[in-house]
Amino acid sequence: MSPLFHHRWRQRTSLLALGALAGDEAAAAQAHAEGCPACAEDLARLRRTLELAALDPLRRAEPPLGMPALLARVNACLDAAAETKAGQAWRTGWLVPAGALAAGLTAFFMFRPASTPRAPATPVIVAERPVAVPEEMLGRMERSVTREQTARYLDEAQDLLLTVTAPRPCARQTRRVDVGQEAERSRDLLARRAMLVGTGGEDVASVRPVLRDVEYVLREVASLPSCARERDLQAIQREVSRRNLLMKIDLMTRELKG
């Protein structure tokens, strides 16, 4: 068998091992492998590899957020993007008349009669074309806003986690605690978390591990019924202290606020 011909069969053997061949093609590749010891060995080794690769836990992984929460995050991003767009349109709309006004003022001061006593020098922006804010400056402003929003989000999350550690007894059921408000606030905070990702995830890269921990705990709180079992709450409290979350939030908030 020529090497080129054999190479073709090797390729088919790989595809057969991957289960990517069907019908006649699969039957032909299988028949060839049965009569070709090298291909049979190849097929067996590839199958072992793929069986092993099938053990990768990620193949069966489920998203850590349910569909409604993911949809809320997508909608929050779209809202944030729409607001940013509207803000940019406003800035552009404002800059054009401002540029024209500045040009008009300049012309007025340059061509007025010489006998008129000169007014004290006033800083005037000369703009023949509409003035555009440099992209870099806009980027800096957006980054700064993202950091502020992240710091505020962490502040509020910390406040919530502190409240959760001292729950009120539930009036409706004994041996239960009332966390209805906290669960509601957690859901609000989780929706805000989505906007932090969409508007500048890279700018808050250093706080991501803490954001992740906070999101995990908030999800736990958000999933509690309004009258929760004490032990469920204690488990959340243990998780907060195991992760040193309150202290980490303090440190990160300080870093974000500079």
């Binding site: 390729q11 990517a20 072992r48 990768d56 836990p57 069966r60 949809l71 999101e215």
Partner: protein, 179 residues
Amino acid sequence: MGRLARGDREALAPLMERHHRRLYRLALSYLRDPDEALDAVQEVFVKAYQNAARWDGGAEVGPWLTRIAVNHSIDRYRRGRRRLAAETPLDEESGDHDPRLSADAPSPERRLLGREVGERIASALRGLPERQREVFVLRHYDEMTLEDIARTLELSLGTVKSSLHRAVHRMRERLEGLR
């Protein structure tokens, strides 16, 4: 998609319901981080909504979304690799696997093996050239047919076959000896 193109946000829910799990696993296979993968899926649907008007009405939605997800994952992977180069090696990161990653509850031995395999696969995938990684991920994790992979990545069927063949052999070289 028609409704989405007309700006109807309500149309997002059924589209996400149908595709979010698949796209999540796809992104996860590239990024090996549940939060990163979730962010990537979120961006895919934001992008899909924003670009729905440009979608070719005759084309299938699945491959179109897959294409966006693959591009996003590659971008994020590159950005993450640059960042991780200055911080922690990916191997160490993926070593701390999230318990949410396993759907059922396997035995401790199996979980340990799964974790080791996960780390080795992450490392083996990183060693593949980009095209080989794309086709392998779409076949192994998304179980796409060769024709669908070709359509999604806009490659010829022959290129998909040869890339897959090379990818699976490289994976074998890197994974052999694990068991």
